[in-house]
Every structure is written in structure tokens, then in C-alpha cells.
Symmetry: C2
Subunit: 527 residues, 2 copies
């Protein structure tokens, strides 16, 4: 970790610029208005290519370092010291910077990035950097269009239809006469699902508001993603009317408690309308028993949503799709290809069994965007079913990556990750000082405590828990400061802080897992 | 326009591949798993660079064509014929495609893209392709991180703080102790604003739902963006409780009508809580009188939102910021740098005067993401104030573009566009057969009818309107089929369809405007 002073002296420097790349010199005192689209001469066009190729060169260098285990995962600095050091260099001024400075800016920015594609980055559900998806993202940026109409996004609109249909086929809805849309992340996808369910139970809310609605109550496991609860807050249902259902020792929703809560709700005079089953919870990676939950949903007429933002990719594996058994009985599904499938961020789909429900629920028919007298078939204009107006093209990178891997490539990627998870579990079992939070995890989340020697022989109880609670944060802190690897931790209910290891990076090999465990031991041994 | 058959034969073809680029041949039978991160040998690393450079080559070619007036803006095909022709070629199969096919896929996709950066693309509010923003977007994709915590997005978090503070300074809020977040588009930004306003008037809704709320009513001009109304639908307020305020002959909100509607609401026993003033309406480009509206908002205790998603950029111009006079009296502002400022899609900010309101309104304190015992200052973790969980990095491209242009560069870009708008207006005035929808438009939307000779001398009235209503769609249809230029049209209230010309592309020069008008005359003359 550099000192604040040395940070200030080396970063984003404008005086005494000495870029390592001598080829950047030719951009000294060259400004953006000398490039396309301002300067359309051959000269302008040539400079544009040269400039973009220099940027690509910087990015290729970063990509290589991302994949080189001799480079650190991150170069950590505390927020205030990074802010004090870089703040003045990051300023936006009245005058333009020349393109040499812009190249320096790119290079310096990457220096302080966390290498989320590094084989030893295990910190989030989304890890890795797929290079076909990256290429797709670069093209998306150059095409710079908007998904609201076929008019300005013809091929991408078709691709979205094709990919959504493919995803629904994989879910297994009997005839594919269904609906769906790509949304900016799983939280918004979940919001779409609750919104559609609310529309089905009481379509009048759209015009008249919740005042014409009976009191609505929704259900989700206590370990589900917080965006389900947040949807209740946003939609005016209220977080108190989003009931957290108890989970069993594996972190799965207890169907008996679900039914009990539904009965309790009915007895209170309120209307149960929605239940979300999670396919891969954020912390434990648990899969709720979808089939049994769907029986209850049918019995009481609830909308069944499956939030498999995280676990959806498992559907692509013949060996592992059983985790989501019953998903074809769902009314809606959230599935994020930017997680398990490895697409770059953002890429999230929400799929609906009922065709047309999104349009009915969300459309407002703005005449200036969705003209009814266009010369082409306007059923291809998808914008009015989205809650966004402008909508980023999240489809091309996914489509391209899927082309390059095929179903078979994605399947073997997922199977390989599942094998790695078993490898990690075996290692943990064989090593002293490690303890599972859940024995035999069924997915890619492997949650465990590292118990330092000084704590190892203390009797189970409050004192031990209090000590243990401090271990993971302490190790994580040292890990970040050395920058060698990154893994998440958190408490859960009454459980003290534990590590949550996520095996979702296709770049990872068994050696990297060994490295992580050894690093935890090395840093934590004497705590 | 090619026939369906010839389309099918030439596009995305896998048999008899004859890519024009012989350098692609080396990717025949080379698959994604031979690249990084799977193949970390020198060979794998080299192939990765080669592959990405081929992609960049395709993109550079596209960028050049984007800026070359001898290329068409689009190659139009009807949805069903594009679908029939390309559908089978776009399929996702079990087997992977080789990287040669992936390069063909990229090239073919671009062939059917609408060139939104072309100097003769005038169809949307967002036009143009800024190459610094593009470079920023490429870096963003390579960095592939998520904005929820400082932990994994340290520099980008600082950049977001810096840019938001800069934007608030420009708005003119007296001390910059305020709030804000980047959101996926203006519609979601507007949703944030209504949500925060609802929280301020009745914070209990978050937990208890709308049933504990008095009846809430909100106001916006009849010409405002439909996302304000949609927010009412989503939040459970109801579209009927979003009152459209009348506009004057310039399309500006009539403050008298606003006050009348507020009084009417109060008389009915409901609570007026929110008013949105539009800074640049979508169709006419009108600016509501913010200052006068803010007087009313203060008088009645309403939250004042300014939706200047479109017009916000005008704040950067000393000559034109008066359009938004009074904006510093707003409680919240939506401002999309992906529109007037020219950043690539998506880039939208929502800014709030009250510090901490977003956090209070939206946070749910998920312990697994926002651990309270981290070793760094967690006030830098911004995720819990967003309604998304994962959040795309929309800041870097904007920051980089702003660096490269400086305030002065952005100002002159906006001034230049305003001059071009005046140029267009003068041309329209001087030409026969063109008629303004609003005389002397004050912004970059220039709305006009082209009146063909056969209609020109018909008396004003229903018959003329009915004929005129068909002219713009017909011309637009021919324009798209020839592909030479693109401009939008729509009706408005009782007005028959008219063209809405948007001057927002920094690539445009007066010649392009002449070209558009001549093209309209050429295509429409004999209608």
C-alpha cells in the first residue's frame, strides 16, 4: 500500500507527464475535437483509430494482468486516503485535457480497479471476465442504441426475442407463448415480477392506486434477496406485508411455515397474492423446494415467482438442473446471465408465463414513441412493456457469448464450477481449523468459519462466538491490504461472521482454491 | 433493400464462409476455450489479443462508416422478413461456433444496425457517438465491476461522488450537502424522485404500505414524459392521481392551472405532494416556468422535481442556462448526460437536495452486502441507497468525456447545437411548404409539418388535417426504406402528425440539415 503522499505524486499526474508508452507522445496537445466526428478528414479518422488502439492496448494489458496470478487482485487504499490523494487529480475542469492525459487517466484508473476477473477473486456472485462477452460489450457501445423500438434496434430486438424464447424453453414452460424482458439487474427484475403479480390480483391499482386494493401480503424466505422486500416498499405494499418464511437447517424455505403464514394472513382478512422461491440464496446458496411451494401457490391462488438470479444457470446442466425442479410451474422467473453464466454486468432477464402481462401492466402508449401508424409491424416494438423508457442493450453480449460457447459449453462451464465446489468442500473437510456453516453445501456457495488455534478449543457458546465473529473481518482486512485474494464474509441470523466462498469464476483452478485456504490460515493462524 | 432470399444467403452464413478479411482465417476451428481465461499460456494470451484486435478492427470500420455521409443511416427490412431471413442464422445451438464465425456475427450484426452516430440520424433525443465516451465504455466493460460497494469499485465510487457534486454545483444548490445516484435511464431516475417525495410526505409507507397513507396526488404537465405517470402506476399512487396540467401555446405548464388543480385536490380531501416541471419536453422541447412553479410548490408544501433528462445539458451553457431558471429551488432533478451531453447510453443521474434522503427511503441494510464491521469507512458504500442491487458503472465514460472536453468544450458543443437549431429554423422559414408547430422554438426540438403541394392550398380544417396526418408517416417510411436519413414524427393532442427534428448530434453540420429538408421535399412533393 502506497502512502498518500506517494499516491499523490504518481497518479493521474499532469505535470511532468512521463507516460511509459512513448507512442502516447503523439497525443500531447491533441484534443478530442481533432477526432471523429468533429474532424472527418483522413487525418481525423486516422487519429481516431490510433487513439482507440492505444486505449485497447491499455485494456489488453489489463486483461493479461487479470489472468496472471503473479499480479495482485487489488491495490487497496482507504477511501479517505484515496480521496485525498486522487481527488484533486480526478477533478473536472473548465479546460479540456489532451488525449495523452486521457490515456494516462485510463491507465491510472485501471491501476486502482479491483480485478474482478482475477482467478483469485471470490468476493461476489459475479466474477470472471468472459472475453466474448467483452467483445460483445464493445460492439454494443459502438452501436450505441436503445432497446425501445425495432426502428432503431432491429437486430437486437430479434436477438432479445430469440434469447428470451430460449431461456423460457430451458425453464420448460409447455408452449412458449410467454413474455419477458431484460432489466437492469436482478432487483429490478424482481420488482417487475411483484408488479405483474399485483396487476393480476388487482389491475385497478394501475389507475386508481393502492387505495382500491385489498390489503396485499407477499411471502419470501427469510434468506431471500432483499430486493423482494424492497419491491414491497417501492410498490406501496409495505415491508411489513412481505412476510419472511422460516428456513430449515439447509437454509431452504419451510413449506409448512409458508402455509401457516398464508392461513394467518387469510384469517386477518388480508389477501396473500405472491410467493417468491429462491433458486440459490445469496449467502448460503440454498434452493427453496419449488415443487412443494408451487403446490401451496396453486392451492391458495398465489403468483409463484422463482428468483434464480444466482442459480438460474444451473438449468443449463443436465446434472444440476434438478436443483430447480418445479420451476416450470412458476408464473415468473428472474435469471441473471451476468452471474453464473459469466456475461459481463449488467445482464438480467425476467420471464413471465403469461404472454402480454408486461404490456398490460406497464404500457402507457406514449404516442411520440410508439406511433400506431408506423409502416412496419409494431408488435416488434418492445419498449412499452418495460418500466424504463431508454433501455440499454444487454442482449448482444449474451447472445454472442452463447453462440461462442453453445449450450454444451455453458453446461460444461457450470459442471466444472460444481466440481470445484466439491473440491473446496473436500479440502475444508480434510483441513484442521475449518468448520462448515452448512454441511455438504449443494451449490457454489461454500460457507465456513476459520477457527484460529486460540479459539479452537474454547467451548461452544457466546464467548467463542464473540471471538469468532471478529476473525473473518480481521482476515479479510489483512487480505485486502496485501491484495492477494478476496473473499466475502457476513453474519447470518445469530451466527457469527463466516466466510462465503463463491466458486463462479471460470478462470479458477484447484490451485487457486488451495491458495485461498492457505492464505486464510497464514493470516488467521495467530489471531 | 435486399429480398428475404438474398438476405438469407448472405447473412451470418456458416456454410461456405468467405469472410472478406483473410486475417480471420486463422480463427477457423479456434474456439473460445482457447482464449483467456481458459488458456493462460503465451499462446492463449496472444490469440486473445489477436481476436480482440480483429473485433476492434470491425468496430473501427463501423465507426468510420458512421461518420461517412456516403454510407446510409440504415438498411431497413421489415421485422418479419428480417426474422424469417436471419432467424435461423441467429439461433443458439448446442455446439459452440468458432471464433471466425463470431467475427462474422459481429460484422453482420453491424450491417443491420441503425447508425445512431451518423450525422444524418435525427430520430431520437440521444444521437451521436462520442469516441471518448466509447473508450470509457470499453474500459468499463474490461473493469466489469459493480457500483454497490467501495470495496469492489473504489475509484469509480470516488468518480461518482465527484461528478454528482459537480452536477449539483451546476444546478446551484447553495451548499453541496446533497444526494444523488446514477440510475439506468431517466424513467428510473424519475421513479426515484417520486419515491423520495412519497417518503418525505409519509415515511410510514415504506413499512406499512399505502394503506397508512392519505390519498396522494401529483402533478405534471400534459406534455411531460410518460415515466412520471408510470411512476404513479408503479408506486401504487395510480395514474388517475397524476394530474396532467394544461400547457400554453408554447407547450409550457400553465401555472394558474397547476394552482387550480392543487386547490381542487385539497378540496377533495386528498393531499397534493409532488409536482414535476419539465426542462425540455420530449416532443416540443418546451421548458416549464420552474421559478413560478417553485413559488406554488413552496406555497402548498409540494416536492418540486425538475425532469431535465433532456434539457439538463443546457445548464452548462452560460447563454442558455436561463431556460432552467429556478432549478436551484428544486428538491430533485433528473438529468441524462446520455442525451444532450452526448455520453453513450446509459447515463442518467437523479440528484436530491436533501442529503441522506435516498438512504432513508431505500435502505434495507442487507448484512451480507453492507457489513457494518468492515475495516474501511463504510459511508463510501453507496449501494443501499439505490433501488438496484447490482448497478452498472455508468460513471467512468461520463467522467472521461468530461475530462476530455472540459466544461468549456461541453458548453461550446451545446452552443453549437443551439446555433444549428436556429439555422434549421431559418431554413424552414425561408422554404415553401414547411410550417412550424410552434413558432420560434426555444430549444433543439424543431417541430414542423411538411405540406405537400396537393395539400398546401386546402383550407385549414378537418379535411386538411386528415391528409396532413398521413404525410409524415409516409415520408418517414420512404426515408427508412431508402435509408438516407432518419427523423421522428408523432401527433400531439389534436394536431396531425408532424416531424420532430432533434439537433443533438455533434457530428451534424448545416449541410446535413439542408440534406434532410431536401430529402423531405423530394420524397413528399407529390404526396
Amino acid at each position: 500500500m502506497q502512502s498518500e503522499k506517494s499516491l499523490r505524486n504518481t497518479c493521474f499526474r499532469e505535470e511532468d507527464k512521463q507516460p511509459s508508452e512513448s507512442s502516447w507522445k503523439k497525443f500531447e496537445n491533441v484534443f478530442n475535437y481533432e477526432l471523429l466526428p468533429y474532424e472527418t478528414t483522413t487525418q481525423g479518422s486516422k487519429k481516431t483509430s490510433q487513439f482507440l488502439l492505444e486505449v485497447v492496448d491499455i485494456l489488453l494489458d489489463y486483461i493479461k494482468k487479470n489472468n496472471d496470478r503473479s499480479y495482485k487482485v487489488l491495490d487497496f487504499h482507504h477511501p479517505h486516503s484515496l480521496r485525498n490523494a486522487l481527488g484533486p487529480c480526478l477533478n473536472l475542469d473548465d479546460d479540456p485535457k489532451d488525449l495523452e492525459q486521457i490515456l494516462i487517466d485510463c491507465k491510472e484508473t485501471l491501476k486502482f480497479c479491483v480485478k474482478t476477473g482475477h482467478p483469485r477473486f471470490f468476493n461476489q456472485l459475479s466474477t470472471g471476465l468472459d472475453l466474448i462477452a467483452l467483445a460483445g460489450e464493445w460492439l454494443t457501445a459502438a452501436a450505441n442504441t436503445n432497446m425501445f423500438t425495432y426502428e432503431i434496434a432491429p437486430v437486437f430486438t430479434l436477438m432479445e426475442d430469440i434469447v428470451l424464447a430460449k431461456m423460457r424453453d430451458i425453464i420448460g414452460w409447455p408452449d412458449n407463448n410467454c413474455d419477458g424482458v431484460f432489466a437492469p439487474g436482478g432487483a429490478i427484475s424482481n420488482l417487475y415480477a411483484v408488479l405483474a403479480a399485483r396487476y393480476r390480483i388487482c389491475p385497478e391499482i394501475k389507475e386508481h392506486g393502492m387505495e382500491v386494493s385489498p390489503k396485499l401480503v407477499m411471502f419470501t424466505s427469510e434468506y431471500s434477496h432483499f430486493s423482494i422486500k424492497r419491491s414491497a416498499a417501492i410498490l406501496g405494499i409495505g415491508t411489513n406485508n412481505c412476510i419472511g418464511i422460516k428456513t430449515d437447517s439447509k437454509g431452504k424455505m419451510m413449506v409448512k411455515d409458508l402455509e401457516k403464514q398464508i392461513e394467518k394472513t387469510l384469517a386477518s382478512g388480508a389477501i396473500p397474492f405472491f410467493v417468491s422461491a429462491t433458486g440459490g440464496t445469496t449467502v448460503l446458496g440454498s434452493f427453496d423446494p419449488i415443487w412443494e411451494i408451487s403446490d401451496i401457490a396453486i392451492k391458495y391462488g398465489l403468483w409463484l415467482h422463482v428468483d434464480c438470479a444466482w442459480g438460474g444457470g444451473a438449468l443449463l446442466s443436465k446434472s444440476h438442473r434438478k436443483l430447480l425442479n418445479g420451476i416450470d410451474r412458476a408464473d415468473s422467473v428472474t435469471w441473471n446471465p451476468h452471474k453464473l453464466m459469466g456475461a459481463t454486468l449488467q445482464c438480467s432477464a425476467v420471464l413471465m408465463k403469461e404472454k402480454g402481462i408486461l404490456e398490460k401492466c406497464n404500457s402507457l402508449r406514449a404516442k411520440y414513441l410508439f406511433q400506431q401508424d408506423k409502416h412496419y409491424d409494431i408488435t416488434y416494438d418492445k419498449g412499452d412493456k418495460a418500466i424504463q423508457c431508454g433501455r440499454h442493450n444487454d442482449i448482444f453480449k449474451l447472445w454472442l457469448m452463447w453462440r461462442a460457447k453453445g449450450d454444451s459449453g455453458l453446461e460444461s462451464q457450470i459442471d466444472k464450477l460444481m466440481d470445484l465446489s466439491l473440491y473446496l468442500q473436500k479440502k475444508l473437510r480434510d483441513k484442521e481449523g475449518f468448520q462448515f456453516v452448512i454441511n455438504e453445501p449443494e451449490f457454489l456457495n461454500v460457507c465456513f468459519w476459520y477457527v484460529p488455534k486460540n479459539v479452537r478449543y474454547i467451548e461452544k457458546g457466546c464467548r467463542r462466538d464473540a471471538l469468532l465473529d471478529k476473525v473473518a473481518p480481521k482476515i479479510k482486512s489483512m487480505m485486502m491490504e496485501t491484495g492477494t485474494t478476496m473473499v466475502g464474509y457476513q453474519p447470518l441470523g445469530d451466527l457469527p461472521n463466516f466466510f462465503r466462498m463463491i466458486v463462479s469464476n471460470p478462470a479458477t483452478i484447484p490451485d487457486d482454491i488451495d491458495f485461498l485456504l492457505e492464505e486464510i490460515e497464514r493470516l488467521g493462524e495467530d489471531l
